[in-house]
Symmetry: C2
DNA sequence: TGATACACACTACCATGGTAGTGTGTCAAT
DNA sequence: ATTGACACACTACCATGGTAGTGTGTATCA
């Protein structure tokens, strides 16, 4: 039973606090929509537990257990599991059980394909149409990335990395595309989480970000796309190494 | 109250029958996984009701009502609604109500963008790598499309159209990509459902299918991609017309 | 007439009980 | 030692009760 582990890693005690770490705006008279249902919160926690490998691939779950550990009833847990199954992070076998999906090479490769198709199109659309505010904010982001790398703060770098890619979609006016990317990216997040402690890796990623940005700023659509392709394919190298190092995480 | 309408259109009486019209294989010793939970069936029915405009945009729903009309409890209905909300077909306002999402121009356009990015990549990857079995099956599909057009069977043509595009993804070994396309396509399906009775439209689509196929067969990746782009953009013309004809279906 | 307090009728939401289906271990018979 | 039957523990699944939150209509007061 892995319940203790989950507890210690901070899975329990939901609490009706604020949603995903958003900054509190200093303006009064906000829409007050903080009364968020807890079901999405459960989803969020479980998703994080999976992508950070707190819950290991192929591990058996159960609505009952998770509900107890999280301190809520089975219903919101079940709803979260269904959603995670939709996204391919969990396999639900009717009347048998729910299991953390093993890392499937085919899924990772296809996620890579989807992400590449979308993000390349995004930067190509964006090239030459970037606003000044956008340029400035991305430049600031890249500067923070540089600091994170210098300080060796991998966690922070990951967040900035994500923000960088999300920002591109937002500027292009494509929020739903980012949602899709976010979902398929989940397949790779587990891989990346393991692969971080590789020397020089963060530097490579940062350099690629800068190159993409420069092509974008210069309005060179084709080059921006090509560089994005090269950048995203970095992950594939990682998954190959990991497949050899930890074959027990992988499945059919 | 639109309950009567829904009943008559075949929304009620779920029944634990077979899943989505699959052919029964004549081999013994099959996995027998026909004991499908009814929750996905409810989802399927609601989805169809929305895309075929049995349930109109902005129409108010309620777990309670739907459960009664469908003859099941509120739980599977709720689960279906959550999934539909995830896919952007339903807006759930906590503690207030659930509503069929209005057709949003921005959503339709972005769905178009996503689909284009993906499907163009698919045909480019596929060009020149198509198996003989694939060539044959697509050829058969196109022949059936021709018949459907000749007989003016719009419903059948839509199915064959969908099968055509799905087949491309399958042959490319990209089932998840088809899933993504399927989801974003939902945004356009409502539009298409209204726009069918336009003279010469089916002929145009069929001709485009043939052109894509020929480029694919000839291994001309670039041209296949270009033709797919042109093909998919047909929908945009439709949505513009419809926006003028039925502005009440559209929202923010 | 206009604004305000309030009761009511809804909603989605979470909790919980009951059930059919499935795997597993135990024990008997071969 | 292998196989088979059977009881049991476990699962996801659906049904249903209770509750907090929200909009709306309706009296009451200025």
């Amino acid at each position: 039973m892995a319940s203790k582990l989950l507890m210690e890693k901070g899975l329990s005690d939901v609490g009706r606090g604020k949603g995903a770490g958003q900054r509190e705006p200093s303006r009064a008279l906000e829409p007050v929509n903080n009364r968020m249902p807890i079901s999405p919160q459960i989803y969020e926690r479980l998703r994080r537990a999976i992508t950070t490998l707190v819950m290991l691939p192929s591990e058996a779950l159960s609505e009952q257990d998770l509900a107890q550990q999280l301190g809520v009833s089975r219903t919101p847990v079940r709803e979260a599991l269904i959603r995670l199954a939709d996204e391919g992070l969990i396999d639900i076998l009717p009347q048998r059980g729910s299991f953390v999906a093993p890392i499937r090479l085919s899924d990772v490769e296809e996620a890579q394909f989807i992400r590449e198709a979308l993000e390349v199109s995004v930067v190509q659309r964006l090239a030459g149409h970037a606003s000044q505010a956008f340029i400035a904010s991305v430049r600031a982001n890249l500067e923070m990335q540089r600091k994170a790398v210098a300080e060796g703060d991998r966690e922070l770098f990951l967040e900035l990395d994500e923000a960088f890619h999300r920002r591109l979609c937002e500027e292009a006016g494509l929020p739903r595309s980012w949602r899709v990317i976010q979902v398929v990216k989940l397949q790779m997040d587990r891989v990346r989480y393991l692969s971080l402690p590789e020397p020089g890796h963060l530097e490579t990623l940062l350099a690629q970000h800068v190159e993409i940005f420069e092509a974008l700023e210069a309005g060179e659509a084709k080059q921006a796309g090509a560089r994005m392709t090269a950048h995203l394919r970095e992950v594939l190298r990682t998954v190959q190494r990991l497949n050899l190092a930890r074959p027990d995480f992988f499945g059919r």
